[in-house]
Each structure stands twice: as C-alpha cells, then as structure tokens.
Amino acid sequence: MIQHLVDGILVGSILSLGAIGLTMAMHMLRFANFSHAELLSIGAYCALVFDGVFKAIYAPLAAAIGPLSLTWALALAIVISMGITGGSAILIDRLVFRRVRAKGGELSMVFASFGVAMIIRNVLGLMFGLQVQLYSKDIVFAVVLSQDPFLLVKPDQIFSLVAALIIMFVFHLVLSRTTFGYSLRAVAENPELAQVSGISLIRMITLIWIIGGGLAAAAGVFYGLTNQVNPVLGRDLLLPIFAATIVGGIGSIYGAALGGFLVGIASNLALLILPSGYSPAMPFLIIIVVLILRPTGLFGEERH
C-alpha cells in the first residue's frame, strides 16, 4: 500500500513536469497537442547522446554521483537536452503548427499534432533503433527505506523527485515574482487585452514552447533514468499526461502539477485491485471519473 503510494508520487512528479507544458500550450493555442509527449522522447534521447559525448570528451565525468546511477555527464546532458528540446518545440511550431494555425481551424491543429507525433516517434525509432536503452548499465540496487511497512526506493527515484520538485518550485517563482510571469498569466487570462498592454503574443508563444519543451525534456530524462529509454516512451506517457491536465483543469498550471501527482498515485493504487496489465487504461478511467464528478477539473474554469 505504502509502496504503491510512494511509487505513485515518484511517477507523478514526471507526469507533472510533462503536464505543465502541455496545459500551457493547450490553454494558449486552444488545441489538444498530441505531440507533446514526443518532446519527452526527444529530451530522453538527446540526453542519451550528450551523455555519451561528454563522457568521450572528459572521462572523469563518467563517474556516478554518490549512490545514484546518474553520472556528472548525464547531469550536464540534462541541461543541454532541456535547451535543445525547447528549441525543437519552437521548430515544430514554426514548421507546422504556426502555418496550420494561420490557415484557421483549431481542430486541424489536433490532426496536425497527431501527424507530428507519428513522424517524431518513428524518426526516433529509425535513428536510435527500436530496442530499449539505458543511461547506465550499472545495476543500482533499491534501498530498503523501512521494513514495516516494507518500502523499497531507488536512489535515482529520489533524485528525480527532488529535481522535479525543485524545477517546479523555480517555475513557480518565475510565474509569481517576475514580469515575465505576470505577462504569461495575462496572456492566458485574456490574449487581446494583454496585447493592448504591449505584451507580444508571438514572443509569449515562443516562450511557452521553450518552457514546455524544457520541462518535457527533464521529465523524459527522469523517466529514462528510473525506467528505460525507448521510442514509444512518449506514446506510453501521452494519456497519463493528458489525464493530469484534465484532473487539474485544462489551462491551470498549478492544477497540472497537482494532477500529475494525483494521476500517478491513483494509477499505482489501482494496481492493488487490478492486474498490472490494465495500467495503460487507468488514466482513461481517471479521465472518466473527473468528467463525471467535476468536468472542469480541480482549478479549471468553465470555458467552451
């Protein structure tokens, strides 16, 4: 029971990072972006490549940090990967979404995002192979945190959770303490009025893609670190991340953060009753429950 709860929190932090970026893009651009989860894959593979590059350039970087399987090289690679993934998100927007947007039709964007997801996923498969990859081949043993209740946690999982919480806290500070944060919330609240006050919508959209891409990259690497990296990573996390945005209420950043944890915990607790084969369907059940009980989610607003 406690084990499931803890596992849920650990997975939840990854979902939260993914959901924050998704909910921002969905709110601002008014479309369900089915390619968002592929940014997690891009981030995970990007870190894999730069991890190798850094190790090759400077061998001491290959040393693991403390009890983690995370190496210094990978830690650096995460930062680079966040930047590159943010850049890819902008590139995708310029190449596809912005042009489809210009032609009108919010729903065409949803189609386009499905197509983009399909292309990214399979190009990654072609580039890196369909097999599973790991950041580290060293076996890191889980640590027994307590005997009663029995609780096993890997050091990498603790690192991912703490790092995700720090990233979210920093983002919270940016949102609540900086002019950029105010502009972002202003645009989310009322795009026309924000533009009248001299906020550039195009610049805001670019920033949202950078932040969303960066957070997704971190989520992808943390997922790869605690599980594994494969080309269908994004596909598998897509529905849980969507569920997190719906639980939080589409458009609510804090809702998405909380929603990620709730989806993670609920999916893991459900394993107490259901066989594990059903876990891919769990996010859908959560979506249905939320739509029945409170369609606007935790912090969502009524908007059609």
């Binding site: 969905m26 008014r30 479309f31 369900a32 089915f34 596809v96 042009r99 489809v100 032609k103 039709g105 919010e106 729903l107 065409s108 949803v110 189609f111 386009a112 499905f114 197509g115 983009v116 997801a117 399909m118 292309i119 996923r121 399979n122 190009v123 498969g125 072609l126 369909l130 529905l239 969507f242 569920a243 719906i246 589409i250 066989p275 084969g277 059903y278 891919p280 369907a281 996010p283 859908f284 059940l285 979506i287 249905i288 739509l291 029945i292 369609p295 908007r303 059609h304």
Partner: protein, 322 residues
C-alpha cells in the same frame, strides 16, 4: 490472371470496408466538426460485437450466441453506438479538446481491455470460431470472396445514400450550421449539444458497421487489429479525400489503402534485409507526412466540400423564372 483478379477482389473488399468507416468519420468531422481521436475503438466495438454475438461457442470466454448474422452485425453496430453515447454524454458540452482526448483514451482503454480480459474476448489471442455467413453454400474460395465484395459494396452504397440524404435534410443543415457557428445556431433555439451527440452516435454506428464487416471478412479479430495506426489511416483517407465530401471520402479511402499496401509491398521487397525491422516505422512516417502535408498545402483535400446554399433569399417565383 485469376490471381490478379482475386487479389483485386481482396483489395477492393478491404478498401470498401474502410470506406464505410471513412464515411462515418466524415459525418462526425467533415459535417459536424467533431474530433474523433479513437476511430479504432468504435471499429473494434463493431468487430468484437459482431463476432461475440454471431460466433460459435468458445471455451473460456464470452460469446458463441450464434445469432442470425444480420442481427449480430446490428448488435456490433449498437455496441459502437453505445460507446459513443457514453463518451459523448460526458464530453460533448465541454471544450472540444475533451472529446479529442476522451475518444483517444477510449481507444487505448479498448485495446487494453481486449488484450487483457481473456474472459471477455479471448485476450491477446483474439476471437476465433466465427462461421462466415452462407459459408455452407458459397464455399471458401473465390466465389465467396466475390459475393462478399458485392455485399460490402451494397452496404457502402447504402451508407453513402443514407448520408447524402441525411446531410441534405434539415438535420444535416443544422449540423453544418453548428459546425460553422455554434453560438448563432444556439441563438436560434437549436439544442446544439444534442444534435452533435446524435451525429457522434450515428457516425460511430457506421464505423461499427465497418468493423463488423472487417471481422466477418477475416472471421477473426484480435487486439492487433485495433491498434491506433488504424485511426491514423482512416483520418488520412478522409483528409486526403476532402472532409465534408462523401465521394471524396470514398476516393481517399481507396487511394490511401492502395498507397499503404503498395508501400508495404515495395518496402518488404526492396528494402535491405537489415532495414526490414524498420519498414513499419517508415510507413508510419509516410502516413504522418501525408496528414501534415495535406493540412499544410491542401487542407480542403483532393475533392473539396462543395458549399451549398440551402435556401436562396430570393422569392420562389424569381427562381422559377430562370
């Protein structure tokens, strides 16, 4: 020669079955602006429903009611409609993203359920033990396939005619009115949520019919047949053909299915051995490029919807004079 003809029959049967699904999607997306992200779930509901109701009894799982075939097919269609009704009821009043995400979720959950619930539909091994209708009279060979093609074509034409009548009816006009401007339609006292829900259900029932025919044709269905790629293929057919135009939808279905099978054949034949594992990926990239490319350069499709003026503003006598 006979090989070629029997292949053409086989190809046309599958393409015609998929055309029916594209027609159903066209009602939802082309005429009502409803985004169905889980076409395959409704297709699968029709397929599984038909086989469970019409199959011979199997050990270990539900099914084997050996219903009269048309009833089994109708049952499959009803299952698809029921699923659409539940999803629609929950999401149709919300922002359109909710319908997109929920239908996508239904597809994931449906495939997952069919794969795991062995007691329900045989799990990963799929459903067997279905006797194709009139099997005893027509045998198993070419004659049967040719007759089945005729049967599918008749249903395709019937679906086409039904939809043409439907979209020309006041109901069809209402659908397009809501698609173009929901607020305006509501200001005229139209219950837009109910109309959209009706359209979602009718479209899904048609997609269910397609699934039922598909399962009948192969006399077998497994979770492998209800993977998300089918949703993409059916969309690509609609987008290429031209959303809103039923003839375009059918043409798109044949075109994309031809391109898909040809690319699969070409890749398996000419791709180097070490690349064979990746031919699926290449095909998926191609279909992704088709979808994105069409949206970028020709969003109206190859055969665009003809916008019609339902009723001219001028008095009738003036029109009659022309």
């Amino acid at each position: 020669m006979i090989g070629l003809i029997s292949y053409l029959v086989f190809f046309s049967t599958v393409a015609a079955i998929l055309s029916i699904a594209v027609l159903g999607l066209n009602l939802q997306w082309g005429n009502s602006g409803l985004f169905n992200g889980g076409v395959v779930a409704f297709f699968g509901a029709g397929a599984y429903g038909t086989l469970i109701l019409g199959g011979t009894s199997q050990a270990g799982h539900l099914g084997g009611y050996e219903l009269f075939y048309p009833l089994a097919l109708l049952g499959g269609m009803a299952a698809a409609g029921l699923m659409a009704w539940i999803v629609g009821l929950l999401t149709i009043r919300l922002r359109h993203d909710y319908l997109a995400i929920s239908t996508f979720g239904v597809a994931v959950a449906f495939e997952n359920l069919m794969r795991n619930a062995e007691g329900l539909a045989g799990g990963a091994q799929g459903l067997r033990g279905f006797e194709r209708p009139l099997h005893a009279w027509l045998g198993d060979g070419f004659i049967y396939n040719a007759c089945f093609l005729v049967f599918v074509l008749v249903l395709l034409i019937a679906t086409y005619k039904f939809l043409e009548v439907l979209i020309r009816s006041p109901f069809g006009r209402l659908l397009r009115a809501i698609r173009e401007d929901e607020t305006a339609a509501r200001s005229l006292g139209k219950d837009s949520a109910r109309i959209r829900l009706t359209s979602l259900i009718i479209g899904s029932v048609i997609i269910g019919l397609s699934g039922g025919l598909y399962a009948t044709f192969y006399a077998f269905i497994s979770p492998q047949d209800v993977l998300p790629i089918l949703t993409f293929q059916i969309w690509a057919m609609l987008i290429v053909g031209g959303a809103g135009n039923n003839r375009g939808a059918v043409a798109g279905a044949f075109l994309i299915w031809a391109a898909w099978t040809a690319s699969g054949w070409g890749l398996s034949r000419f791709a180097p051995l070490e690349m064979q594992l990746y031919t699926g990926s290449i095909q998926f990239i191609l279909i992704g490029l088709v979808i994105v490319g069409m949206l970028l350069w020709r969003p109206q499709g190859l055969f665009p919807e003809k916008l019609v003026v339902s009723q001219s503003g001028r008095p009738k006598s003036e029109i009659n004079r022309e």
